[in-house]
């Protein structure tokens, strides 16, 4: 039993915590449990569970070719976006982490894509990726002597094309986080490295990268989770096509639930998405703790 004093303290704190807790309870915890529950049923179009399926929904998913394609598409999408975005953002951050006149303008431009929504980014790139010679990307390719590519309607290029757009969109956020990390690095380590005769490249690999690893680790986790959750660009640019080549998990959940009204199997996919993100976060934190250099 709690003592009277601590009970009073708890009640008092609850006054401050309850608005947030109430929202979390109704819109995060309850629906998460409900998703588990629905994933064991077939529902009617109103979303009421009617036929108990147990783990059959999951068994069917795992056996299904379409779901396997979705997992592959999501994994490839992560592979195409996360390393590229981080490397480019790191290069930009190192370039912009100098004392030069007017550097603020460059920093603002490099971080500007954080303000660009997925809907506008996708619309812009739909235009840049236009299939004929009129698309800017094809125009560049033509001037380099390559022929036109039908970016969004070819199985092999749809996912890379959306990844390209996503990398561009993610640069702003990654740049902001990484340059923040760079600015917090201690100056004196570089000073002694310079005295020891380490050149810029060596300084980058042996000082900047290790010291920056907590920040890099943070962006890897956040970017991976974001990539798994990507939806808007797929809905606008390809609708999961062609031939399901870009039918990533979240798009597949959306189709199954809100187009086909099959809320049970869709919930099973949502549970799998939840588990993947959970495991990913935990694994990355484990590895991160060992490999990451903390000051």
């Amino acid at each position: 039993m709690l003592q009277k004093k601590s009970r009073r303290e708890l009640l008092y704190a609850a006054l401050y915590l309850s608005p947030s807790l109430l929202i979390f309870l109704i819109f995060v915890f309850y629906p998460m449990i409900k998703t588990f529950y629905l994933s064991l049923y077939l529902t009617n179009p109103h979303g009421d569970p009617v036929v108990w399926k147990g783990i059959q929904n999951y068994a069917k998913l795992i056996a299904s070719e379409d779901f396997r394609k979705s997992l592959v598409a999501s994994s490839l999408f992560i592979l195409y976006t996360v390393p590229g975005t981080i490397m480019l953002a790191l290069i930009l951050a190192v370039m912009a982490n100098v004392k030069l006149r007017g550097i603020g303008i460059f920093r603002m431009i490099f971080s500007s894509t954080i303000g660009v929504s997925v809907a506008s980014a996708a619309t812009i790139w739909m235009f840049l990726l236009a299939p004929g010679g009129n698309g800017m990307l094809n125009h560049f390719l033509n001037s380099l002597g390559f022929s036109n590519v039908s970016w969004l309607v070819t199985t092999q290029t749809a996912l890379p094309a959306i990844a390209l757009m996503t990398v561009w969109m993610g640069l702003g956020f990654n740049f902001i986080i990484i340059i923040g990390g760079l600015q917090s690095l201690p100056e004196d380590v570089y000073e002694s490295a310079r005295i020891d005769g380490a050149n810029g490249w060596k300084q980058f690999w042996y000082i900047t990268v290790p010291l920056l690893s907590p920040t890099l680790f943070f962006v890897i986790v956040v970017d991976t989770i974001n990539a798994f959750q990507a939806f808007g660009q797929f809905n606008i640019l390809t609708q999961g096509g062609p031939d399901r080549a870009s039918n990533v998990i979240v798009y597949s959940i959306y189709q199954e639930a809100f187009v086909n009204s099959r809320f049970g199997p869709a919930s099973a996919q949502a549970v799998i998405l939840f588990l993947i993100i959970l495991v990913l976060t935990l694994i990355q934190f484990r590895i991160g703790e060992k490999k990451v250099h903390y000051q």
């Binding site: 709690l2 303290e9 008092y12 704190a13 915590l17 608005p19 947030s20 807790l21 109430l22 929202i23 979390f24 995060v28 309850y30 998460m32 409900k34 998703t35 979303g47 370039m95 912009a96 030069l100 460059f106 490099f110 971080s111 500007s112 954080i114 303000g115 660009v116 929504s117 809907a119 506008s120 619309t123 812009i124 790139w125 010679g133 009129n134 800017m136 125009h139 561009w168 956020f173 902001i176 986080i177 923040g180 990390g181 600015q183 917090s184 920040t215 943070f218 989770i225 798994f228 959750q229 939806f231 808007g232 809905n235 606008i236 959940i253 809100f258 809320f263 949502a270 993100i277 976060t281």
Partner: protein, 277 residues
Amino acid sequence: MNAKQKKIAFMVLQYALLILAALVIIYPILYVIGISLMNSGEAASYPPHVIPHQMDLGNFKKAMDTAPLGHFMLNSLMVSLIVTFSQMVTASLAAYAFAFLEFPYKNTLFIVFLSTMMIPGESTLIPNYLTMRSLGWINTYQGLTLPFMATAFGTFLLRQFFLTLPKELFDAARIDGCGKFRFLWSIVLPLARPALGTLGVYSFITTWNQYLWPLLMTNDTNMRTVQIGIGMLQFQDATAWNVVMAGVVIILLPSLLVLILGQKQLIKGLTSGAVKG
């Protein structure tokens, strides 16, 4: 080359690389602005180019006429302001309890807050949608905003900031007979303006740019937000890219404006969370 010449050469190289990178990154946005100012013949001409030969502001009017963009903007603005304000209130209250109050189960409750960050919104989407539908809240502001009125990220951000305030402040206020709520309202919050600013800018941009939830929550044109509304321009007339791009410019402006005005705060806040967190 002497040392000074070397230094200048290096600086020129730095600027050249910076300008090149900036051009590549900003290129899609410049291109969109360019296209939005072209007449339809020029926008479709080959080879494609960025700078319009003639300024044509008519596309903006056409975009506003094709889809009720003004109305969409108003919806987005309402939704973003409601969410931003609510998050600032709920997060300040919770962060205050975690930073200044002693109570049983404090750590457990803090973990409960943080655990919400591990649950992706896509995994709770279906029940939330069904809840809203059964309440008849599709096409309403409460349907669009309620699920986002609390934020673990924001609570964490503000708590970290509150913890940097000296503890004596709290004791001194208590001796002076200042109530706990008044302490929060008249001492902590004014001092926490930078952190609140970060949260505000972040919430506003995130909400303004939301896509999936508003797509599900609205099917009435009157309640669409801009992000969903922009799609309407394409389906109206597939070839009028200059009009579509004018629409994109219109919906980009507010978030870019907030970003430019609040960039310092956003950068400070986001990086302190990532670097120290």
